[in-house]
Amino acid sequence: MTNRPLISARNLSVSFSVGDSIFKRQSLKAVDGVTLDIPKGSFFGVVGESGSGKTTLGRAFLNAVPIAGGSATYDDGTVEYALDKMSASDLKSYRRLAQLIFQDPYAALSPRMTVRDIIAEPLEVMGITKTREETDQRVREIAARCRLNLEHLRRFPHAFSGGQRQRISIARALACGPQFVVADESVAALDVSIQADILNLLKSLQRDLGLTFMFISHDLSVVAHTCDHVAVMYLGRIVESAPTRDLFQAPRHPYTRALFSAIPSLDPDDRGTVQKLQGEIPSPTNQPSGCKFHTRCPHADDLCRREEPALESDGSAHQVMCHHWKALMAEA
């Protein structure tokens, strides 16, 4: 792993226009002023509740939603793309380099195509392979990497369990040989027993093929075990970003701490000791003033209601967006 960023975003914003009629159009900022670097060869985690903008951020890096402000670049050493201003032909070649693995393996696979056709489709559409033999060869290679049998290739998706289907989705995403893969809640729909298997597979693929992963999840314990670096999102902003070990040993943002304490403990005698977060994430069309978290934060004061804190660090890679993090760390 090098420290050279594969993906970097500077003050990136994505907004959608919502409303009942064209006269009542409102702008919804799903991602608001995000600055981050995803190092080449890393397993980069993004966590947050529903509505925090984590999926939209992933889509922005894939150029699947229009970027409203700021910039984002892809640079793998041989080619470089500015994701905020791409021509149609650039986009076509970028699709080969950046791919997405979806959340729900039941909805992501066409029920009318065989597994072989599902994995072969991107190869044929992008014109990567020229002959049928070449395509078959490539499909068999990638299927073997994702631990699918040749026997499986002739069947239809309905014959497979959730874990096997997710392996098929992964094979399809990797068929065109991408450098950058966004895994959006890729284990959320799976049983814990299977989840561990898919996580181990993603990790080994990342190592063997030298891929860079952006792993989007709402499950902190899953992220803790797979990612090198974690960014925590709340209402379209990154509120804390740190190497996994630092984040889990000493979370600085009150939101991150609340997320930790909400994970149900396996110890039955640990009941009732957790710090509960009140209320729900505010609507992104009607955002609070100042620090966006102040409506749910137990430590909020006037400063928090008035001024939005900046993402700051103490010189290390650990960044946090909170007025009071130093005082809170001293208390703890």
Partner: protein, 332 residues
């Protein structure tokens, strides 16, 4: 006399491909005020077992001749659910003595009716109340589960609420008829961890207040540890382990229960490898002979596990396990 006494419950579905055994000789009891966690992977028969308590499974379900479900009603009398057949007779159970909360609150409310109307409708059927009294009770229940401004919410539609609020409304609706038994089928799986923690707290409070029995279906052992008094683990329609929550989580006896616990990512040791339960749950059409788990079991004894169905062996009076490896009284 227990609130619920299920003996030798067996359920098969007649399908085009043949008879599918979904529940195989399951027995358990539940007391008033007790919370039982029902754990297992998708396809293990958890939901089918729970629905059988109200005979709510599809038309092609055939119950075994020895199946017996004795349920205590609100007036203290006992009814054998298996003996009821007409929908009219079953109403004392469905929505009367037993209420159910489903996993996806968006799918379980009718989208075109205000939630208040749906709450009143079921109260008019199951409780001897006037329309005005039913409305007052519904608003009181909405308020009770922590929905602010309940009188306004009463007239709103399901799509106007957030996921957490919908699930609260679902709980309010299920409890308004004062059921003896509440079945909660993965009630927090679709929610964020912070909201999940709120809903779990709410359910614990309500058990103390209303004193009903709860069957809590989940695949998350952390949630079970935080909510349940006892645990039953299911695999391919069979119950493989049963016991008090502390015994099962701290001293799991069955290799499957141990596998489920080992597969959970733990936050206290980030370096611990994730250990999946090997393989996938077999198709119910190809149920393994002998111990149903032998095809995935790392400690299989070979011949014995492949041919003979293990009997229950007791670790102590309440904690039992169906595995050839575990000998009777091993814990004493």
């Amino acid at each position: 006399m227990s609130l619920l006494d299920v003996q030798n419950l067996t359920l098969e579905f007649k399908t085009d491909e043949g008879l599918v055994t979904a529940v195989d000789d399951v027995s358990f009891t539940l007391e008033k005020g007790e919370v039982m966690g029902l754990v297992g992977e998708s396809g293990s028969g958890k939901s089918v077992t729970a629905k059988a308590l109200m005979k709510l499974n599809a038309q092609n379900a055939a119950y075994g001749p020895d199946s017996r479900i004795d349920l205590q009603l609100g007036d203290g009398s006992t009814v054998d659910v298996m003996s009821l057949n007409r929908p009219k007779d079953l109403q004392v159970v469905r929505g009367g003595a037993v209420s159910m909360i489903f996993q996806e609150p968006m799918a379980s409310f009718a989208p075109a009716l205000p939630i208040g109307k749906q709450m009143v409708e079921q109260l008019l059927i199951h409780a001897d109340l006037s329309k005005a009294a039913a409305k007052a009770l519904s608003i009181e229940m909405l308020d009770r589960v922590g929905i602010s401004d309940a009188a306004t919410r009463f007239n709103q539609y399901a799509f106007e609420m957030s996921g957490g609020m919908r699930q609260r409304a679902m709980i309010a609706m299920a409890l308004s008829t004062k059921p003896q038994l509440l079945i909660a089928d993965e009630p927090t799986t679709a929610l964020d961890v912070t909201i999940q923690a709120q809903v779990i707290d709410l359910m614990k409070e309500l058990v103390t207040e209303f004193g009903m029995g709860i069957i809590f279906i989940t695949h998350d052992l952390g949630v079970v540890a935080q909510t349940a008094d006892k645990v039953a683990v299911m695999y391919l329609g069979r119950m493989v382990e049963q016991g008090p929550v502390r015994d099962v989580i701290r001293n799991p006896q069955h290799p499957y229960t141990r596998g489920l616990i080992d597969a959970l990512p733990k936050l206290d040791d980030l370096d611990a490898p994730l250990v999946p339960v090997p393989g996938d749950i077999p198709s119910p059409l190809e149920r393994p002979s002998g111990c149903v788990f032998h095809t995935r079991c790392s400690q299989s004894l070979g011949q014995m596990c492949q041919t003979s169905v293990p009997e229950w062996s007791h670790r102590n009076a309440d904690h039992k396990c169906a595995c050839h490896l575990v000998l009777d009284g091993a814990g004493q």
